[in-house]
């Protein structure tokens, strides 16, 4: 028997249930940490069972009766609440996916070479639109100096 099983059996012994007593006592006499367990818990049980708690107040029933007599605030039927929540979720989903799939103007950037030979004054990040040619034409317009 190990300590864990012994602890389990202690509660059986204290409840007056049959246990394999020789094995139980054998562990108790051979294990220092379990030796005083039965007596310690038994003493605790004696104190806990003997301690009193205050009596319930006598005026509790009128309080309960008054609480029961109060009208219960009207609650929306659960099904209706769930249906409303589901509808709201569905509407939000439709809006989200519609927005996600709507065509959007594509905006990209291109690095425009501005080497000394190019005649451009500086390197620039130029918006590149769907129509790349149009973008490059715009870049040329904006950054070509001295032509």
């Amino acid at each position: 028997m190990n300590c864990e099983t012994y602890r389990d059996r202690v509660f059986d012994v204290l409840a007056g249930r049959p246990v394999d007593r020789p094995t139980f006592d054998g562990h108790r006499s051979s294990c220092a940490s379990c030796a005083g367990l039965l007596e310690g818990i038994s003493e605790n049980e004696r104190i806990l069972s003997g301690a009193r708690v205050p009596a319930a107040p006598a005026d509790l029933w009128p309080r309960i009766a008054a609480a029961l007599a109060r009208p219960v605030p009207a609650r929306r039927p659960r099904g209706l609440v769930f249906a409303a929540a589901a509808a709201a979720l569905l509407a939000a989903g439709v809006v989200f996916f519609s927005a996600a799939r709507a065509p959007r103007p594509s905006l990209d950037v291109a690095i425009v070479d501005a080497s000394p030979d190019s005649g451009r004054a500086f390197t620039a990040l130029v918006p590149r639109y769907e129509d790349v040619d149009a973008g490059l034409a715009l870049a040329d317009t904006l950054f070509r100096f001295g032509d």
């Binding site: 602890r7 389990d8 202690v10 509660f11 409840a15 310690g40 818990i41 003493e43 605790n44 049980e45 004696r46 104190i47 806990l48 069972s49 003997g50 301690a51 009193r52 708690v53 205050p54 009596a55 319930a56 107040p57 509790l60 029933w61 309080r63 309960i64 609480a67 029961l68």
Partner: protein, 191 residues
């Protein structure tokens, strides 16, 4: 003893009172209350450790039970169902009260108020209750069910919806914590 309490103690069993209540007998719920109020109060007191809070809990628990009796399936004993509702409600309240207690203690430390006391009845009973308050609410609940209500390990397992092994290991943990705290407590001669 009141007529209702006599009726509760006598003939009809719990299931009969529940059925009568569901059929509209206005006295049936009161009969169940009279039968179990002390037990529910004692369990609540062991968990929250204070009479006023325990009384409030009893009120809340019986109002809750009144509202939920229609869902009682008659598959378990009424007392098991009642204790389950009561202990769960008291455990929820205990964590709420613990938060408030910490606030009260902080206010008291700052010299702005009085944390209030929990002393009830005999000094020895207060000592025991103070020791129990050192346990977690779950361990307090199990100690109350075992040593106050006298429930068997199987009944506790059913109320708390845990295994018998868990019941015993929680009891062991509770005793390990309580042993040094109860070492100098003697029930005799302190009354």
């Amino acid at each position: 003893m009141s007529e209702r309490a006599e009726r509760a103690d006598g003939g009809a069993d719990d299931a009969t009172w529940v059925r009568r209540h569901l059929e509209g007998d206005p006295d049936a719920f009161r009969a169940l209350y009279e039968k179990y109020r002390e037990k529910v109060f004692a369990s609540a007191y062991r968990i929250v450790g204070e009479s006023h809070a325990a009384a409030d809990l009893v009120q809340e628990i019986f109002v809750k039970i009144h509202g939920e009796l229609r869902s009682f399936k008659f598959e378990s004993r009424f007392s098991t169902w009642l204790f389950r509702v009561a202990v769960n409600h008291a455990l929820n309240k205990a964590s709420e009260l613990a938060r408030h207690a910490r606030i009260r203690e902080r206010i008291a430390r700052d010299g702005r108020g009085d944390p209030g006391g929990t002393r009830e009845g005999r000094p020895v009973d207060d000592e025991v209750q103070r020791a129990i308050q050192a346990l977690s609410p779950k361990l307090r609940a199990i100690v109350g069910l075992r040593y106050l209500e006298g429930l068997s390990y199987e009944e506790i397992a059913e109320v708390l919806e845990i295994s018998i092994g868990t019941v015993k290991s929680r009891l062991f943990l509770a005793h390990e914590t309580l042993r040094p705290l109860l070492r100098n407590v003697t029930l005799e001669g302190k009354e």
